[in-house]
Amino acid sequence: MREEIYTELIMEHYKRPRNFGKISKPDTIYSDANPLCGDEIKVYVKFSGKKINEIKFTGHGCAISQASASMITEFVKGKNFEFVKNLSKDDVLKLLGIELSPMRLKCALLPLKAVKMAVYSHLSKDQK
């Protein structure tokens, strides 16, 4: 039964998301949206060297996307580029602790996509 996607863990993160908010003077900002449902996310990152020093997000979305953003930002804080680059769909699902239908997967993966893009865009700025 998929009702179990609304686990205590998910609901807890949804109701009290970690890292929700803005960073003043971030090194990079990245926004993305899920056009099919209107979910939006904006990721703010501050780096120290190759490490993610601070990360926050704003936006709105369903419980899954909000909980996912909360958990992923928590997970990558203090980690380096390589770590973020290697994060996969399965890592997100492991964090969330649930199984998802393809449609719902998009909700869960939007934050990961945004975090990766934020990191990549900083990386490409660096190399210029």
């Binding site: 039964m1 209107g38 939006e40 979305g61």
Partner: protein, 402 residues
């Protein structure tokens, strides 16, 4: 309720979803199909399949006759003056594109195209693009806090409009717009009225002559018909002035390497092999609806909507008019502090299918200051007890998320 006897015609409604009996409340996205329609499609492929208009053999003749009969059924359904005015297209979106780009020679720099802020993207983007292409102006009529079109604003803005593009029924607010009134105004100002009938033609009697509509777009899949087929109606006189947008085989009379002469109406606008089975299936859907009677279909929508406004209205914020008579058969709503996706996901656990999101009406949602909504939409096969099930489930969701 008097529609009860039709439910058995829809095989999918016997399905279970997550162990529960399916409650399908997403007909505004696409309707379910009665076996009478499915059977006609199967029969076509099994017994009569051939290309049309092109060959003298018996199968081709049978297919051509069936296809052109479907066109007659569509013409009769909306009371068009002639079958020449019925263009088969893919869907409402394509019809509205053919309407807008078909008028490209008529729209000049600085001309005004007037539409509304309650349109589906399909009745917005083609006009945005046409305006961009021709350096024309795009202007909007707003809706008021009850979801009604602001007719005073319309009066102010309509006089110098060249084209007025408006939906007959909003797919979010449910609002049914006073098309006849607006059409009369366009007749005075000499503008062309293009009506998005995606949510109206399937649900109420629509008579293009009585309403004085110049162009009307609608989709087969929302009115018990198959996917991939839709209709652009336009007055013959307009179609003659309009340019085809896409080009190819059947729409041509004579071709040389450097020159092409368009075919007669309606073929001028139909390119390549048509969706023959789709048109025939749409014809069967129209037969089915006609046999029930569109007034009865409309009446049923009103009853369900009134019931839903009342019951769901007690626990949710519903957008649009308060009076069921002014609405089509749907309600878009929100529960406090619960994202519509989560509503839809939990409802699905109970076998209830609704839609959540912006329903391809982002500007409308922005105006309502929400990013998304949940929407339950009804058709002739829905019942009040299904709305009771919806309400029960919504109450449960409120509990889970409290």
């Amino acid at each position: 309720m008097s529609m009860q006897k039709y439910i058995k015609d829809f095989p999918i409604l016997k399905r279970k979803v997550n162990g529960k009996k399916l409650v399908y409340l997403d007909s505004a996205a696409t309707s379910q199909k009665p076996f009478q329609v499915i059977k006609v499609i199967t029969d076509f492929y099994t017994n009569h399949n051939a290309n049309i208009h092109r060959a003298l053999h018996t199968l081709s003749e049978e297919a051509t006759i069936a296809y052109e009969q479907a066109r007659e059924k569509v013409a009769a359904f909306i009371n068009a003056e002639s079958t020449e005015e019925i263009i088969f297209v893919r869907n409402t979106t394509e019809a509205l594109n053919f309407a807008s780009f078909g008028l490209r020679d008529i729209v000049k720099k600085d001309d005004k195209i007037l539409t509304t802020t309650m349109e589906h993207h399909s009745n917005l983007i083609p006009w945005q693009q046409l305006a961009k292409m021709k350096k024309a102006k795009l202007d909007f009529v707003d809706f008021d806090k009850n979801g009604y079109l602001d007719m005073k604003m319309l009066d102010r803005k309509i006089n110098d409009a060249k084209i007025v593009a408006v939906t007959q029924a909003s797919n979010v607010l449910g609002t049914i717009n006073p098309i006849k009134k607006i059409a009369e105004k366009t007749k005075q100002s000499g503008s062309i009225i293009v009506v998005d009938g995606a949510q109206s033609v399937p649900h109420m009697p629509v008579d293009v002559q009585e309403l004085q509509i110049d162009m009307l777009a609608f989709s087969g899949h929302k009115m018990l018909g198959p996917t991939g087929i839709g209709v652009l109606y336009a007055r013959k006189e307009l179609l003659e002035k309009m340019q085809p947008v896409l080009f190819g085989s059947d729409m041509i009379k004579r071709v040389s390497l450097t020159y092409a002469e368009w075919n007669d109406l309606p073929y001028k606008f139909e390119y390549g092999t048509s969706h023959i089975a789709g048109a025939i299936g749409l014809g069967a859907a129209i037969d089915y609806l006609t046999q029930i009677g569109m007034n009865k279909v409309r009446q049923h929508d009103i009853e369900l909507t009134r019931y839903a406004l009342n019951k769901v209205g007690k626990i949710a914020t519903i957008y649009g008019p308060k009076k069921a008579e002014d609405r089509s058969g749907l309600i878009a709503f929100n529960l406090t502090n619960i994202h519509p996706h989560d509503i839809a996901a939990v409802l699905n656990q109970d076998g209830i299918a609704i839609r959540s999101g912006h329903h391809c009406a982002m500007p409308l949602h922005e105006k309502l200051k929400i990013s998304a909504s949940a929407r339950a939409s009804f058709y002739l096969y829905n019942t009040k007890s299904e709305i009771d099930l919806l309400v029960k489930s919504l109450e449960k969701i409120n509990k889970i998320f409290s």
